[in-house]
């Protein structure tokens, strides 16, 4: 993993195709959140959305053993924290599936699709695009998910 943090209001991390990278990224998310004075509630939402989006890509979005990557960008302003998760894996829109129905009964409660449903409820805005440009020589994004959290 590389920390490409650029300024106090923006964090950029590139993770390898390895679920252990999620935990390795946490100190960077914590330091960024402290500098940005996010507070415990928003910091937790930030970490949950990061966990859900990044782990989903690493578990499902890459051919096993590939050298593909996930690039995370977090940016804050006075009103929002925006988390963008890009990957250069298989084209996939995680928002294309309908969100699971609300949990009403243990016997019929779904076990799949819960993660993206959680992100959709925490974010004030959530979007997917297949970028036609962006990245750099070492990373060309194929998928981009953007979640905006309100402060």
């Amino acid at each position: 993993m590389r920390d490409l943090r650029r300024d106090p209001d923006r964090l950029v991390l590139t993770l390898d195709n390895d679920i252990a990278e999620i935990a390795a990224a946490l100190p960077h998310l914590e330091a960024f959140g402290e500098d940005a004075q996010l507070g415990p509630r928003l910091q937790n939402r930030f970490e949950v959305v990061f966990e859900e989006l990044a782990s989903n890509v690493i578990r499902h979005g890459f051919a096993q053993g590939s050298r593909q990557q996930v690039r995370i960008c977090a940016a804050v302003d006075a009103e929002t924290l925006t988390l963008t998760v890009e990957d250069d894996g298989l084209p996939f829109d995680p928002l294309a599936r309908p969100a699971p129905a609300p949990l009403t009964d243990l016997a019929s409660a779904p076990e799949g699709g819960l993660g993206i449903g959680l992100v959709a409820r925490l974010a004030s805005r959530l979007s997917y695009e297949a970028p036609q440009s962006g990245g750099d020589d070492s990373f060309r994004p194929v998928n981009r998910v953007t979640a905006v959290l309100s402060r």
Binding site: I19, A20, I22, A23, P40, R41, N44, R45, E47, V48, E51, E52, S55, R59, P102, L103, T104, D105, L106, A107, A109, E111, L114, G115, G117, L118, R121, L122
Partner: protein
């Protein structure tokens, strides 16, 4: 991620400690499922030392709670931190598995 199991007279008490993220759930899902799966008694789960909870943990509680319910048993979660409680509330887990403030309330739920 740590898991501690206690056999009380009429209830099994399981305490979880750590982050229930992808890695944490991966570490404790099998022992947790096994401890719930063999229990003939209701199960109360202490979340007071769980510092983080994401959707894989909710999935674990749903699948193990369902196994217990199929045998006529009951699972109650208790003492979530404010951050964990928010995620539980946002996901609506409390609608299908009781989540209460403390151990006394959890015991009252399963014994009541």
């Amino acid at each position: 991620m740590k898991i501690d199991h206690q056999n009380l007279d009429d209830v099994v008490r399981i305490a979880l400690d750590g982050r229930l993220d992808t890695a944490g759930v991966g570490q404790i899902e099998m022992p947790f499922s096994a401890q719930v799966g063999v229990s003939a008694k209701p199960v109360i789960v202490d979340l007071s030392a769980v510092s983080f909870l994401a959707s894989l943990a909710v999935r674990m509680f749903i699948s193990t709670g369902r196994v217990l319910a199929a045998r006529g048993g009951r699972m109650v979660l208790f003492a979530p931190t404010p951050e964990v409680a928010e995620i539980i509330e946002v996901m609506g887990l409390g609608e299908i598995i009781p989540v209460v403030a403390d151990e006394a309330a959890a015991l009252a739920q399963v014994r009541g």
